[in-house]
Symmetry: C2
Subunit: 321 residues, 2 copies
């Protein structure tokens, strides 16, 4: 395993791919490789892209790769697939397009899906970022569907967060937009040629006007028309990248990067704690048949979940710590 | 707290509201009330409604309340708000409409949001269902945005799962649809008057044709036009409720309900275990300053998350259990 980590650090694409697959599948011993590479990480600028399903995140990420390559940046992409407890991590249509960069040694694209238990995806993404980082990628893009708490945890692995909005959705989307307001460093309004784009722009702007920005960074709104002709699409994504670089510079110039690094560390620590504490206990409860027994008791109303869980805690947790 | 549970069981709306708020806010001692009411739960038919943001779930739920009231059913609704780590659980516009049922003593609508740590929302929803169940509601509707793993956990609290689709979304939505295929008992195609509705119907149908249904239940597709005139909207929701009742009857007649009850129990047990094991350890790490120390070590690259988490596990977890 450590060998795999060492090889990934030399930029070995096959070793890195294998390592990411092992992280995803939660293969025992994978943490050894991560422990090995961890001291060499922390150099890359990690960008998170999130938004509702169908907002066009992958299309933008794909074009962003082109922009960054023009600027001589090496790029790693983690496309996070939240649907996969069922689909087994199928590559989505839009993401297949990104594979056109496969021939370029400066680009490394991988998708990542949950297979394990809840909360495992954020841990996997954190470790996946470490792999791309240790490979020496200048920029790492993490793309994920942003709605629930899990997605927020995932996006907390990023230094710069882009929220992609599209016109023509309902009230619920507005509420989600309000929820994303506090994590967005940059807003993108995609499909800006669609009806309602100007209204969405005005709404987002007025929401921003009500906000206060203690960090001195006021999230810009970038309009993108991904469905229009390629040239103007490319230009608007170039502009988006300018804003991304501005944001990163702002973080560095104002000593704010430490705060982002801390946020990232908190997320990683939470993920790792769950992995080291909950997962072994759950595995034991499954292998000893205790979990089955508890489920039976619940179904037969012989006990309730909280009483049973407290019994487990008493059995497995040390009194004082 | 137990008093609150007892009062909620007599149908006391204020006590039930208070209890749900305490569950949401994770007030110490709330589990006592749940333990008290748990033996009296398990009578209600729990319906889950999920789908992408803007699919019209709340509008359908609102109309479904009318249908169920016509049939003399008492109804409880939990509207789950996934955006609230930020918004603090703001009621969404569509959901405000549901408040028109507030005068009807046979209807009890509450929204629920995450405030605590990750995974807490599913536990809160499970406990919230118990409250509505103990109040004696015949049917409980849980409405949530369905994308990630957390939302799947939430929907696993239901006996009958409705997935709401809308035409005019991209590839990503298709993939999510494929992901939801395995949890849907009934599909709704909402905004069926929109362009692309027939195409979506055909696609969903052909996806269903590829599926196999070991339980002998083939998910029906119900077309709904929520934007058209009220009468035909009401009629199509009546039809949806017929399918819901058919599904419940199918579960009962074919001894499949036990399987759903078990799925629900597994979800509750997982939630409760996390609550009883992870949360106290995390609280301790915070109050003793250990977590801060670990974060510092990570930021300074003095250690890595996995090594630190293993140290915590060694300190807090008993050797053999």
């Amino acid at each position: 395993m450590e060998e795999l980590g060492k090889k990934a650090m030399t930029g070995d694409v096959r070793a890195a791919s294998r390592l990411i697959r092992n992280i995803e599948d939660d293969i025992p011993g994978t943490t050894k490789a991560i422990k090995h590479i961890f001291p060499y990480t922390g150099k890359a600028h990690v960008i998170g892209i999130t938004g509702a399903p169908g907002a066009g995140k992958s299309t933008i990420t794909d074009q962003l790769i082109c922009t960054m390559r023009k600027k001589q940046k090496t790029v790693g992409v983690l496309a996070v697939d939240p649907t996969s407890p069922f689909t087994g991590g199928a590559l989505l249509g839009d993401r297949i397009r990104m594979l056109r960069h496969a021939e370029d040694p400066g680009v490394f694209v991988r998708s990542m899906a949950t297979r394990g238990s809840m909360g495992g995806l954020s841990k996997a993404v954190g470790d996946g970022i470490h792999v791309l980082d240790a490979m020496g990628k200048d920029v790492i893009v993490v793309e994920t569907v942003g709605v629930g708490q899990q997605e927020v945890d995932i996006i907390n692995h990023a230094h710069t967060v882009i929220v992609v909005l599209v016109p023509g959705m309902g009230d619920e989307v507005q509420a989600i937009k309000a929820g994303l307001m506090e994590i967005a460093d940059i807003f993108v309004i995609n499909k800006a040629d669609r009806e309602g784009a100007k209204k969405l722009y005005r709404e987002t702007l007025s929401m921003l006007e009500m906000g206060n920005f203690p960090d001195g960074w006021r999230p810009p709104i970038v309009m993108i028309e991904s469905s229009l002709e390629p040239h103007s699409f490319a230009e608007s994504v170039d502009k988006l990248f300018e804003k991304i670089e501005e944001h990163y510079k702002h973080l560095i110039d104002n000593n704010l990067i430490g705060e982002r690094i801390t946020r990232k560390a908190i997320t990683e620590m939470n993920d790792a704690l769950r992995g080291a504490i909950m997962e072994p206990i759950l595995k034991k409860l499954v292998s000893t048949g205790e979990l089955d027994n508890m489920i039976k008791k619940l179904v037969n109303k012989e006990s309730d979940p909280h009483t049973l869980a407290e019994e487990v805690a008493e059995k497995y947790i040390k009194e004082q710590g």
